[in-house]
Symmetry: C2
Subunit: 409 residues, 2 copies
């Protein structure tokens, strides 16, 4: 599957054609989307998968209301017990991120997972290295988590923040860990995960990848890249619902590392109620407290949408949609594209600078085109290939052009 | 409201009488309880409040499905935005635990909250003190969290585990922090929070109270006791649903302490996306990542059940129920009561040792009386005054006597 070759300035007819030939066109029907809206914010909160309400009805009424406490262990043989829920979700995530289920712990927020990843990475890092390297424009919580942990450790480390383009040259033998988000949340620029990981590895630097804007948007191959740790978010392209649990990936070779957040659900035998912590096998040890069953069940069902999705097709469509949007808006004098044109350097999002970005986005939302404003002057549009069509892109682009025109007048 | 005076061996008629005069009798109708079951496990997973399914329907379909990303900030003036959800739940929790809402951060598991409490407590503890004191029979996760944090801090501390009865005599000037669970999860014994906190305070020791088996079962007064930190669980007596978010209490005087788990939702201005962490005012700084909206919304609605509950009446009924259960089972030769008879030393749970505890509980569950087995030989019964009646206690006790008789035969 390759990205469709687009005319320089596609017409609505061209795009209807592409929709008719889209191998993922049946997926849109698996989501509940509001009428009168083109939703280009699935990179912030994914839309509601149609199967989720029924699943939650079952969890609420049958599992909680009727079976009550018995649901923790009921139907364990079919893997439908609540105790196994984190592992079941890990198994569905595994193929999306190129990992083995035993290397994934599901639960807690992305921020808390970053804390787990960083404590473990610093534990296995080469002794004497005292720099935590990161992209200066990394998502704020990634920076804050590093600041908080470093303060807890007596400011033993230096948090070195450099522009993404300079990260490679800063991979020196002072660096213990490099923390990077694969796709920048503002610009949509995608870093070269495989290349940077290889360079880091060659210089003895451990990698932590934040997959918030990657997993579910295109194929991720943590194993292939040789990544050490990764974290991700359940509520963006994975459509797990508002504040859905995040996840932590720990490469097999690091699974024996320290567990700083050691809770009873990561114990080898939680119901033994032993006085000493004995970590569970594999990444399950990084599951800390009692899983939030309602939120986790929504994510579990949301991931089923991906079961029959060819990730190469997903990526091809994502590039087609973002190419289309870029083409259609290329003539506007007030929109400055900040997302790279190069396919390899792009996620599934397109961002522009605009002199009145905040007001532009307000007006767009008013007319049903939902994207995001990001401080100070960015309008950002996310393209979820599962439920955004080429025709949607056309109509959204027309609305952007109209709003930009209004604001110019 | 005082505890009803019970006949030595109450009859079913006596108990029907008590139910008829129970000021909380109308509360049972606010829960969905399965038929044919007497549920004495609300101390492990609270029953489903009747208003929760409708609330979740609204959150799923309207807030997530229709309003999508806009729900984070929509209806902010009425306080119905998702951003304010942790604060709204904190405000409902506050009267149940004797705290101000600004001292409570809602979200994350109890285990993660313990980690936050302990990192902050060690930060403000008197310098040079190197002992973390705890009850040797504390709930395992409390012990594991302390072990994990201590290992992260280079084993700088000693985790000293002593029997609950000896805690007071171990409050020496070596001790930085004492971590205690107010009601023991196995025996149901309640510690003297006010007394122990006063003694700890007098000796310069900070207190962390785990309220897992307290909040929602009886009135807790953290401010009155002078507690420094506390954590609690949303899914036991608070009925917030399986794995509901927990909470952290930080006394006002410690609110300026370090935030080790510093995430973007605890930032003073999350959407400013600033590069440096500036903590939010008050306990909001301890909210770390994006709140799990589905699970948190269930807890929010569940807490409404308490809005018209007089906590003195709740406690009086709890003592009446547990007294009744103890009386009715006092004659069985194989049941050894391990819960204190003294009201002041009891939570809302009754536990017995039994030579075949595991099999006894299996048979009880089979006949619809749901309690818990706790290793090695304990059968445990929780009494939620909101939905357990005196007649329920009678029938449950009869079942226990029958099963004990069968096992003796």
């Amino acid at each position: 599957m390759t990205t469709p070759v687009l005319p320089k300035m596609p017409t609505l007819d061209n795009l209807h054609d592409l929709d008719a030939r889209d191998p993922l066109r049946h997926k849109k029907a698996q989501f509940v989307l509001p009428g009168g809206v083109i939703y280009l914010d699935g990179n912030s909160l994914g839309a509601l998968p149609g199967a989720v309400p029924e699943r939650l009805q079952r969890v609420i009424h049958q599992e909680w209301g009727d079976a009550l406490i018995r649901s923790w262990t009921a139907h364990a043989q079919e893997g439908r017990d609540w105790m196994a829920l984190p592992d079941r979700v890990a198994a569905k995530l595994a193929p999306l991120i190129g990992a083995d289920a035993s290397e994934i712990a599901v639960g807690d927020s992305t921020s808390v997972n970053l804390f787990k990843a960083l404590t473990s990475a610093l534990h296995v890092a080469a002794p004497g290295r005292r720099v935590i390297l990161t992209d200066a424009d990394n998502f704020p919580t990634d920076l804050y988590v590093a600041q908080g942990l470093n303060s807890l450790l007596g400011d033993r480390y230096e948090l070195r923040r450099v522009p993404a383009a300079d990260v490679a040259t800063h991979l020196t033998d002072e660096v213990a860990v490099v923390m990077l988000t694969e796709v920048d949340y503002r610009t949509g620029e995608r870093l070269d995960m495989a290349g940077l990981t290889a360079q880091a590895c060659a210089r003895g630097v451990l990698t932590i990848w934040d997959l918030a804007h990657s997993a579910g948007a295109f194929e991720v191959d943590l194993t292939g890249a040789g990544a050490d740790f990764a974290v991700g978010c359940g509520y963006k392209y994975l459509n797990g619902g508002p504040g859905a649990p995040g996840y932590l990936y720990v490469a097999r070779r690091h699974l024996d590392t320290r567990v700083a957040l050691s809770g009873w659900m990561g114990h080898a035998d939680p119901f033994e109620m032993a006085r000493d912590y004995v970590p569970a096998r594999d990444a399950r040890r990084f599951v800390v407290g009692t899983p939030m069953v309602l939120s986790l069940s929504a994510l579990d069902t949301a991931l089923d949408v991906f079961a029959d999705v060819d990730l190469a097709e997903l990526r091809a469509k994502s590039l087609g949609l973002t190419d289309t949007f870029m083409s259609l808006l290329s003539g506007d004098p007030d929109l400055t594209l900040v997302t790279p044109l190069d396919h390899a350097r792009r996620g599934s999002q397109v961002s522009f600078r605009h002199p009145q970005a905040k007001e532009a986005m307000r007006r767009l939302v008013e007319r049903g085109v939902i994207g995001d404003f990001r401080t100070p002057d960015i309008v950002r549009f996310g393209f979820t290939p599962l439920y955004v069509s080429y025709a949607d892109v056309y109509h959204a682009a027309q609305a952007v052009l109209e709003v930009a025109g209004e604001l110019r007048a």
